[in-house]
């Protein structure tokens, strides 16, 4: 995607605050969706709200857009209290889940809509629409109706329609959810590049952990209206704070002991034969657990080895790369060991 227009210049004003959510709660009737939530979003950041459906992430996004109001709490946009401002008076724009393109308008009319409502002079409207059409490579479709376009193209129109307004923040509600896998992969990269090029603040809602890890500068993992963890993707993946995060993002093995739970990613688990010669034994830490291989599943780049631990019903999974010592088969006895640095302790 072309990004040389719309460049804001990527200077280092990264830590400037753009949105502050303060003590937000949301109730629908007697249903408490968000108990109490604080969150600050910085200028130029790609922030992802990640969580299962019903975790309150879309509600949060809609409150920032002004389509919902918090039951209590304040929302600040660029230091201005916008809590009770209607959506049409906020400098944020949204890319809706099903795009919400106006079926009775052409692509160009759709894109122009926001500018017309803001009463931007006609000359400038033309210019900005032309720019954004070029940016999103939609020029040849300008006179089409949304229904005559593919899902991927409609998605571009939705983004163009929001971007053309030069919003302070772009809100994206699962914008790739309706597209097939390959297209989604391509558009993830395009979106990330677009955001980087424009230096614009993106708030992205998704339930797809892979998407979140690929695109975000920062991920906020939510569950039942509560922020479980707020970190960069690397930390979220390698050092989950809670059981929920460890479970929701990637695969994890849990080893429970009296007062703590150890989380170890499958690729960090190492396997050795139950009985080894002394020389081999000395090359790695002593196995913490022993068990029996129950299944080995081929996954292309790895084997997933499922092991039933001795003295318990628990099954753990280890990823074995083919350059590892040996390929395992069912019913073999194995020892399981790991390096202390790969242990993550979670409290909840």
């Amino acid at each position: 995607m072309q990004t040389k227009f719309f460049m804001k210049g990527c200077d280092n004003k990264k830590m400037e605050e753009m949105i502050r959510l303060q003590g937000i709660t949301k109730k629908y009737g007697n249903n408490l969706i968000i108990p109490n939530l604080d969150l600050t979003i910085y200028d130029g950041e790609f922030l992802t709200l990640l969580g299962p459906s019903g975790c309150g992430k879309t509600t949060l996004l809609r409150m920032i857009a002004g389509l919902d109001t918090p039951t209590t709490g304040k929302i600040y946009l660029d230091d201005e209290d916008v809590t009770n401002k209607p959506p049409y008076k906020r400098d944020v724009n949204m890319v809706f889940q099903h795009y919400a393109l106006f079926p009775h308008m052409t692509v160009e009319e759709n894109i122009k809509f926001g500018l017309m409502m803001k009463k931007v002079p006609a000359e400038e409207q033309k210019e900005r629409v032309a720019q954004v059409l070029y940016l999103t490579q939609l020029e040849e479709f300008r006179n089409r109706r949304p229904q005559q376009m593919s899902g991927g193209q409609q998605q571009r129109v939705a983004i163009a329609r929001a971007l053309v307004n030069n919003p302070k923040v772009l809100l994206l509600d699962e914008p790739l959810g309706a597209l097939d896998y390959q297209l989604r992969k391509n558009l993830q990269l395009e979106l990330k590049n677009l955001q980087r090029g424009l230096g614009l603040t993106f708030i992205y809602v998704t339930h797809d952990q892979e998407e979140a890890l690929t695109m975000s500068d920062r991920i906020v993992v939510m569950n039942k209206g509560v922020i479980e963890q707020d970190d960069d993707p690397d930390t979220i993946y390698h050092y989950p704070n809670t059981r929920f995060v460890a479970k929701f993002i990637g695969e994890s093995n849990f080893f429970e002991s009296d007062n703590e739970t150890l989380v170890i990613r499958p690729e960090k688990l190492n396997l050795c034969p139950e009985y080894e010669d002394e020389a081999a034994e000395k090359t790695h830490p002593e196995p913490g657990y022993y068990g029996t291989v129950v299944d080995v599943v081929f996954y292309g780049t790895i084997d997933k080895v499922f092991i039933r631990l001795d003295n318990s019903n628990q099954t753990v999974v280890a990823y074995q790369y083919f350059d590892d010592v040996k390929r395992w088969s069912p019913d073999e006895r194995v020892g399981i060991w790991w390096y202390a640095k790969d242990e993550v302790r979670v409290t909840r």
């Binding site: 209607p86 959506p87 944020v92 949204m94 099903h98 919400a100 106006f102 926001g114 803001k118």
Partner: protein
């Protein structure tokens, strides 16, 4: 093999039923062009019955009455009905069952009951029967149909579209003007056409609330039928049928095609 004879049988049966539905209407129309006044023998093609019809002052009067009543009833019921449908689509009502009852009962209750109850109302309140009472009655039975038709159209519309407009700086009024109204328009037009058709075609309710100087076309046809058979009735019925058919076809074409929904 089996499938073919089964579908042939279905085709044949359906054609017979369709013939049963349409043949009498075709015969009715056909005999409006027959020269013979008295019997069913075809004696030759003529337009005389239509000519006498158009020279008949009372027919023209009935036509004018019908059109006048239909136009006013359509306008009033479409405006009231559209406003109500938009509100019903946008807001949650605690008394929704009551509202639904008020909307659906006039459609579901036998027309004769609605007709005579309006007659009783007008008699008790001493409103003289005439065009006014006809218009009031017609608006009443058209209203529910308009609300339901417009509502069906609005229901197919995503609320997201209105939210998108608001997100793009449109005030509630602008949202209504540029998004809600244009998208609801086919539903509103269809509702208006249905109201017009119902009004111009109504016999039963009009039968109870019409006065001496407010004969509508269906009422005129009834009076003629009661007096005896004549080709003028055929001609008048044929014209009324043509009007109904065109209105139905237009309304149908304006309706969204729900089969296309299954495609995505």
């Amino acid at each position: 093999m089996q499938k073919t004879w089964r579908s042939h049988l279905l085709l044949a049966y359906s054609l017979v039923i369709l013939a049963f539905l349409y043949l009498p209407l075709l015969i009715l129309a056909l005999y409006s062009f027959n020269e013979s006044r008295i019997n069913a023998v075809w004696t030759g093609f003529t337009l005389d019955w239509y000519k006498t019809l158009f020279q008949n002052r009372r027919v023209l009067e009935a036509l004018m009455n019908s059109l006048f009543i239909a136009i006013i009833s359509t306008v009033v019921s479409t405006v009231l009905g559209t406003i109500a449908a938009i509100a019903l689509n946008r807001y949650q009502y605690k008394c929704k069952p009551v509202i639904n009852g008020l909307l659906y009962l006039p459609i579901l209750i036998p027309e004769i009951v609605m007709g005579l109850s309006l007659l009783v109302l007008f008699a008790q309140t001493q409103v003289p029967l005439g065009k006014t009472t006809l218009i009031l009655a017609h608006i009443t039975f058209c209203l529910s149909f308009v609300v339901i038709t417009v509502n069906a159209r609005l229901e197919g519309m995503r609320h997201e579209l209105e939210q998108a407009a608001m997100d793009l700086y449109a005030t509630p009024l602008q949202t209504f003007r540029y998004v809600t109204l244009p998208l609801a328009m086919p539903g509103i037009v269809a509702g208006a056409l249905i109201a017009f058709t119902l009004s111009i075609d109504d016999f039963i309710i009009s039968f109870f609330v019409a006065g001496p100087n407010s004969t509508t076309l269906p009422l005129y046809i009834y009076a003629m039928v009661k007096r005896g058979i004549s080709p003028e009735i055929n001609a008048l019925s044929t014209l009324l049928m043509c009007a109904t058919i065109s209105l139905v076809v237009i309304a149908q074409i304006l309706q969204p095609q729900h089969s296309s929904k299954n495609n995505d």
